[in-house]
């Protein structure tokens, strides 16, 4: 079996969880991956300081779509404060596959759009989150 395109990655790519629109929503974000022109947006509904529900929309490669889909399952119910503190390792460990330096942007796109929507700061990833490739 391919070490990158594992069955669960392809399953999330073909049947992404929490994809679509969510109206009404309390927060939203939209990001582009300049490497390939991919686009990923998110709608978030908030209740009692937590993500009550969330939907991604857009298009992208298997890695960016699967990473967003897998993360979405963890993000629903998470306190907003905790979302702001999530780092690149969280997203990449969750994805569970070796990600090359070039595909890192794909793997982090979902978390980037969510963090941007929640914190209002879309500069993430910066520093080590941006550059450190997973072995």
């Amino acid at each position: 079996m391919d070490d990158l395109y594992r069955d669960y990655i392809l399953d999330h790519y073909k049947r992404p969880r929490n994809f679509g629109e969510l109206d009404p929503h309390d927060m939203e974000g939209l990001e582009h991956n300049p490497l390939c022109g991919d686009e990923l947006g998110v709608h978030i509904r908030v209740k009692d300081g937590r993500i009550e529900d969330l939907r991604f929309h857009g298009h992208g490669c298997a890695i960016s779509q699967a990473a967003a889909s897998i993360a979405s399952e963890e993000l629903v119910g998470m306190p907003l404060e905790q979302v702001g503190k999530l780092d690149a390792d969280w997203a990449i460990e969750l994805l569970g596959i070796p990600v090359s330096a070039t595909r890192r942007k794909c793997a982090l796109l979902g978390l980037k759009v969510v963090k941007g929507a929640v914190t209002g700061d879309n500069s993430w990833p910066v520093g080590a989150d941006q550059y450190r490739p997973q072995a």
Binding site: D2, L4, Y5, L10, K14, L35, C36, G37, D38, E39, H59, G60, C61, A62, I63, R103, C106
Partner: protein, 410 residues
Amino acid sequence: MSVVTTLDVRADFPILSEEFDGRPLIYLDSGATSQKPATVIDAMNAYYRERNANVHRGVYALAQEADAAYDGARTKIASFAGWEQKATIFTKNVTEAINLVAYAWGRANIGPGDAVLTTQMEHHANIVPWQQLCKEKGAQLRYLEVDKRGELSPEQLDRELERGDVKLVAFTHVSNVLGTIVPVAEMTARIRAAGAVSVVDGAQAVPHMPVDAAALGADFYAWTGHKALGPTGIGVLHGRASILEEMEPFLTGGDMIASVDFDGATWNELPYKFEAGTPPIAETVGLGAAVDYLSALNMERVRTHEQELTGYMLERLAEVPGLCVVGPPEPEHRGGLASFTIEGMHAHDIAELAGRGGVCIRAGHHCAQPLMRCLGVGATARASVGVYNEPRDVDALIDALIAGRRIFGL
């Protein structure tokens, strides 16, 4: 299946006998950059080992050797593309060549109410400099449309020129995404008749087919060394001498002056007026060796080989289910590349899986985001050929694509 004439030159390219992960290199990304023959690498090494000195400054013998190497390469490079030597300017790349025209000609000749025309199929290098110019000058930037076949319409060009406000038309010779060969001479004749200036991006043309830029009638024609078997860091701008004479310089400083005093300066003669500072000497020598190599191969033969190989590639790509190639279907109407999508697979995943099969292809928007939006795709995968490719490289690509589809459960 098409018959393909191979040039049998793989052995001339040292990197093609290297192994990567225990496999030979299958390189189908010459549209991004070409591999280099040993003669180019050796010429640059020999320059640094035996002839290195700064140019246009020294009176000692070594400096004169460096001068001879630099300006001697210019003679070969100019004649390779059919242009006069004194109007052949060295830049860093095509991007800098186009910026030179946009700044030095554009800023002086484009004003409010004027229009610049470019096309929907351009590389960002032939869009963004014109956007910046038009924004700064209050001019309008308009785009010639790409039709369903991936071609431009001369009639639309006529209609645009008839509006009377077009001062400059910038377009590519060969599209880096669609592969379309644009009928340059037909375009420049219309542009000249309308009193406008033409700027042609020849990056994907000069390395792959005979190009006589003078016969094509362009006022400016730009191409780059690293896609033409030469090194990075050396681009070429052929300009009409009468226009270049009238222009102010682009970059200023050393080497481009005739004289300087505390109140001002006068400019050196062509082409040096447009070459400020120490130029990329070794790179120019390397590009000189590259055009020698291509000339010895004969550009007619190179074009025949690449057209036949592209025909073979299009036939074999059609065997892959769900695969769709963009651009004109006939190999005689396209350069040596094919951009494609596969239903159910993103272009990035196609390129990653091809790479795992040992085949190097490109994926993404190919620095042509506006065109990708016109085509209605986020990204395509692109396989592009060079003098060293053979049908078996295409076969390896097809095998990798079919294996990739299987991994994706398609």
